[in-house]
Symmetry: C2
Subunit: 391 residues, 2 copies
């Protein structure tokens, strides 16, 4: 059998192996990006599900519109209007989790050989998707305030035909950083100047533990250059596999055609269950509860970093989201140390997976949402000791 | 904005417009491929759903394995073993409806310029998917017994580098035809001889209204050349969006990587609900009930064809599935007649949509699963009159 070139670029086994290893119950894993299961509104979703079966009947089990269940699209539009994005239901496409948004953007925009601009470092599964479309990644340097406009401008001037820009401006994956308003405006202006569409990934935006929200790029988008990707995975349930795209109607039609060719539509019943949940419950109250839980876990992890990690280590202070990012001294190889870590029943994702073109060996991503305070205390002690011994 | 070449080939608006038009409640539509909603086991699925929430708890709402929920994979493997396919859970990938199987096959196998072998005519959305991958369709002639091996052999000899073969051997879409055993063996042998992987789409196989089952290509596959696609859409619920692929483990790993890059995994909770439904209910009893319902509708449509359609019309006699196929006299243009049909509150899909390269204007596909006997009687009378007037 002859396979596509594409499939060799889709190899996800390295990270899958780490995650499989760390799924063992005796491992304290800071590797994945899982929300805390105890945060899921199980009983409210159970009630919503039962209500859908009883009130919607067989319509819940039938095919539905490819763009999504209309009442859910309307609720999402109202929610985002309140957050400053001028949108209506016509701007919303329901997708099967926001990972699908990456693939649909690939289908809509990307040709082999295209350049895709990303933050350096960035979400590793996005790199895999863009590479699967035969694209080259153009990484832009970042600092504590986000993507550095001067680096973006220089690289855009050298590569004015860049095809797409993928960014996570709020509680970024893997670093946990949030772009300042000034940076957002500068990057948006450059994208407009060069005509490069932006894919703004915002799965964590609602998970803010301190400080004030910063406007999304989409909320400042007056030309329709930004596609916004939202998700229920981190605020409600990832297992239900629902996210959404916001885009100008003509662009949204292209995403919808791609969605239809990919899997016809998102699950009718899952959409109705989430719609009913939103109707009968206060999602924001659930998010506040979640934020209280995650703030404590973040603080515990920050305090353990200070007490247990090598004194020359540096780390980010995320104001929200699921991750923080640790930079160790140059000599420490976080990839090479993984076997020792898992042998000692702790795990993280080595930083090098998140860099497109560089072999950065001394960083790691830590997830704090899916471990109890006790696990964080114990796991960080073990990890800190191993890093101190390696340094 | 510059878009991919691909997106212009993904235009699904023609058929979407027909389906949107025919979704109006006063239209008697034989256009779609919807199962009868009154056939959905609503109460059994409601109970299964509630049980999942109560017994699986938050695990039902969390991320799950990319290949699918293990107990469901095991049940599907056992089901197919009983139907003669040698397989285990390791051979099964759960997908978000079997439409996704087409896209994943595209990702795994297809490069721009590749040739994809299909029956002539074939499922129109498959044509769109293969074209979206930049492929050319190589249509093979069919008769009442299925794909004609002589035509396949001749075209394979001319195009030995054909990359993939897509077939629907049982209750084919759009014709309702079922391949004979001899044809299946001959096509499989030719695929093996030329090393062309087969994608066997079998969403309707269980919906048999008369005659004996014919073995699937996959059940006779000794070299791992066949990927089998199954679906819950026509036997349980299409709104739940679950299907599966069966393939050799190394090939399945490639599909799984493609699935992971596309949308990570199928819905955890939906998989658990279907698994629990299968555990607590007899799916085959539901299918028998469905077959009794659909047999009656098919028979009603066949009898109305005989009494109402032009005397020179010909049609297939499907032994199962959802569709039958009508060929009218050469002068009748089923595409041009659509506005008159919808103005008179009836609808079908014009036959030309199902042909890859030919402009065949005098055929139509009729769906009989989603209309009551009364609607079939009334709709076929209106349609027959308009065709007689046009002839």
């Amino acid at each position: 059998m002859r396979f596509s070139d594409r499939i060799s670029r889709m190899d996800t086994s390295a990270v899958r192996n780490v995650l499989a290893l760390t799924a063992k119950p005796d491992i304290i894993s800071f590797a994945g990006g899982l929300p805390a299961p105890e945060s899921f509104p199980l009983e409210a979703l159970r009630k919503a599900s039962d209500k859908v079966y009883l009130t919607k009947g067989t319509a819940a089990l039938q095919y539905g519109p490819s763009k999504g269940f209309q009442p859910l699209r309307e609720k999402l539009a109202r929610r985002h209007q309140a957050q400053g994005i001028a949108c209506a239901a016509d701007n919303i496409l329901i997708v099967s989790g926001s990972q699908q948004g990456l693939d649909l953007a690939g289908k809509v925009f990307l040709e082999p050989g295209d350049l895709v601009i990303c933050e350096n470092p960035t979400y590793l599964a996005a790199l895999t998707v863009f590479r699967s479309y035969g694209c080259t990644i153009l990484p832009i340097e970042t600092d504590a305030d986000g993507m550095i406009p001067e680096d973006l401008e220089r690289k855009l001037a050298e590569n004015p035909d860049a095809k797409l820009m993928y960014v996570i401006p709020t509680f970024q994956n893997p670093t946990g950083k949030t772009w300042s308003l000034a940076r957002r405006k500068a990057v948006l202006a450059l994208a407009e100047q060069y005509g490069v569409p932006i894919l703004e990934d915002d799965p964590y935006g609602a998970l803010r533990y301190e400080g004030e929200p910063v406007p999304s790029l989409k909320s400042m988008d007056t030309t329709g250059i930004v596609t916004y990707m939202g998700s229920f995975s981190k605020v409600l349930s990832p297992g239900i596999r629902l996210g959404w795209l916001i885009a100008a109607p003509e662009l949204l039609d292209k995403y919808a055609s791609a969605k239809e060719c990919t899997d016809l539509q998102a699950s009718t019943i899952s959409q109705m269950v989430v719609d009913t949940y939103l109707e009968d419950n206060d999602l924001d109250a659930n998010i506040r509860h979640l934020n209280d839980l995650y703030r404590g876990r973040r603080d515990r992890m920050l305090s353990m970093l200070a007490s247990e990690f090598p004194t020359d280590a540096a780390w980010t202070h995320p104001c929200g989201g699921l991750f923080l990012w640790v930079t160790l001294s140059e000599g420490i190889d976080t990839t090479a140390l993984m076997p020792a870590m898992t042998a000692n029943k702790v795990a993280y994702i080595p930083g090098m997976s998140f860099f497109a073109n560089e072999n950065v060996r001394n960083c790691l991503r830590l997830n704090f949402s899916n471990a109890t305070d006790q696990q964080i205390t114990q796991g960080m002690r073990i990890m800190g000791k191993l890093f101190r011994e390696a340094g």
